[in-house]
């Protein structure tokens, strides 16, 4: 394995940050993007799964549900009372 799970997690975090407010990304979008970048030999679905777990457990990203689950940056949501 050429890419470490930590490095994949970092890269996913950058991708989520870049798209924040423009497009919501699903776990599958991040996985597909990483595999496209590194090729299946270097980066498997299971590697991406492990990376997503590292990313979410670090608290840098959170899951959101908008009629489907997405990965996004932590923020105060519109429905929450002040």
């Amino acid at each position: 394995m050429a890419v470490t799970h930590e490095a994949l997690a970092d890269e996913m975090f950058h991708m989520v940050s870049e798209y924040y407010g423009k497009k919501n990304l699903k776990a599958g979008d991040l996985t597909k993007a990483m595999i496209a970048k590194y090729g299946e030999a270097e980066c498997t679905k299971d590697d991406c799964k492990a990376a997503i777990r590292i990313l979410m457990d670090s608290g840098r990203c959170v899951y959101s549900y908008f009629g489907g689950s997405f990965i996004t940056l932590p923020h105060k949501e519109g429905a929450a009372p002040d």
Binding site: K26, A27, G28, T31, K49, I52, R53, M56, D57, G59, V62, Y63, S64, Y65, F66, G67, G68, S69, I71, T72, P74, H75, E77, A79, A80, P81
Partner: protein
């Protein structure tokens, strides 16, 4: 605390009548939980105005999980500050909803410490539903649940909490061990249950026989329904006993048989088992005399769902029969191929049943490596618009 300060004259009407009252339950809980008092207030307002007062919250949860918590906020928090946050936690039920008194008390104690004290036993998908808590209480509640041996269930684009009928624990018709299957599948796919990886939800439901007590054929993306291959087990003495006790076997049993595979000559019931479609009617009517055969297993079906987005679907046959002892391995293999295909081609919010409708069952079968067989359809196509493949 216990003083009745809230005027709930509309809700009070629902304390009348013989059926157990949910209003009494909320009032009961409000004796120890001030949150419930504001819940009553907001609900009374809904009854006055004929509309709901909740807003959806999309990002609350416990650390690392994307499922198991449903965010909810009041749209009138100034009036009812105690329910400004009122999130639901889904707690994964034990298979078949079996409990001991001690385990229920443990759950009650945890929920009284960290939430409203109101529950649903159970939610639609099968979870124990803890109804109403604040964001700050989610993590401590989750911690105590974990220490007590419980975990959260699914929500969002997760595998949803699988559920099963009582099965072999209390039913002579269970054609495979539904409780074990449900428990094993739930443990096998913990990551998929807690960290939403899919285009949308994915449900498993395990029914032990074609009576389908957990509505698997209507409500699960992957439906496993027990059935048998050999002959119905028949006890002639007990058949005669039913007749002697006044059962009209010709009308009650034979005439209701969908494949008309049974004959009653006044003394003996004969069944042409090759014609039997395993509907369960005769067995349901004469449980002492007839039982499913001994060569037991299950039919695996795919794609049921409620209407959103493209309309409701019933599940359809994928594998007509898998022997009980091969069921877990076969299911795991199938599921991995189905998920692979769905990951690749499914759009956001597209259930597997809808994806199959969109791409066609034949393409789906190609992708997961199953051969088409006539048991999968009620009839072959009746339109001539056949898309022949290039190489054929």
């Amino acid at each position: 605390m216990a003083d009745q300060k809230r005027d709930t004259k509309l809700l009070d009407e629902l304390e009348k009548g013989p059926w157990p009252s949910f209003v009494k339950e909320i009032k009961n809980a409000s004796k120890t939980s001030p949150v419930c008092d504001d819940l009553l207030g907001q609900l009374e307002l809904s009854y006055e105005e004929k509309k709901g007062h909740w807003k959806h919250g999309g990002i609350v949860g416990v650390m690392g999980y994307g499922g198991g918590v449903i965010g909810r906020y009041s749209d009138v928090p100034e009036q009812f500050p105690q329910v400004a946050h009122f999130h639901t936690m889904r707690v994964n039920q034990p298979s078949g909803w079996f409990y001991t008194s001690g385990s229920l008390r443990t759950l009650c104690d945890i929920w009284e410490r960290h939430g409203s004290g109101l529950t649903n036993m159970h939610g639609s998908t099968g979870d124990i539903v803890f109804l109403g808590t604040k964001t700050d209480e989610l993590e401590p509640c989750f911690k105590e649940l974990g220490e007590a041996g419980f975990d959260l269930g699914g929500s969002g684009s997760c595998m949803r909490t699988p559920s099963a009928c009582a099965g072999m624990a209390r039913c002579e018709w269970a054609c495979y061990d539904t409780l074990k299957m449900c428990n094993d599948v739930t443990h096998q796919y913990q990551d998929e249950l807690h960290r939403p990886p899919f285009p949308y939800k994915f449900k498993f439901k395990f029914s032990g026989c074609p009576n389908d007590c957990v509505a698997s054929i209507a409500r699960s993306d992957m439906s496993v329904i027990g059935t048998w291959k050999d002959e119905i087990q028949q006890d002639d003495a007990e058949v005669a006993a039913y007749a002697a006790a006044g059962m009209d076997i010709q009308n009650d049993v034979c005439a209701n048989c969908p494949s008309k595979c049974m004959k009653w000559d006044g003394k003996k019931l004969s069944i042409d088992n090759h014609e039997c479609v395993r509907c369960m009617h005769c067995i349901n009517v004469m449980p002492k005399a007839l039982r499913p055969g001994k060569e037991r297993g299950a039919t695996i079906l795919i794609g049921a769902k409620a209407p959103i987005v493209q309309g409701a679907l019933l599940a359809s046959v994928l594998v007509p029969f898998v022997p009980a002892d091969e069921l877990m391995d076969t299911l795991k293999e199938l599921v991995s191929r189905v998920w692979e295909f769905w990951d690749e081609y499914g759009k956001n919010r597209e259930r597997i049943g809808e994806l199959i409708q969109r791409v066609g069952m034949s393409n789906f079968l190609d992708a997961i490596g199953l051969d088409p067989i006539p048991q999968m359809v009620t009839a072959p196509r009746d339109n001539p618009y056949i898309f022949f493949k290039g190489e054929e």
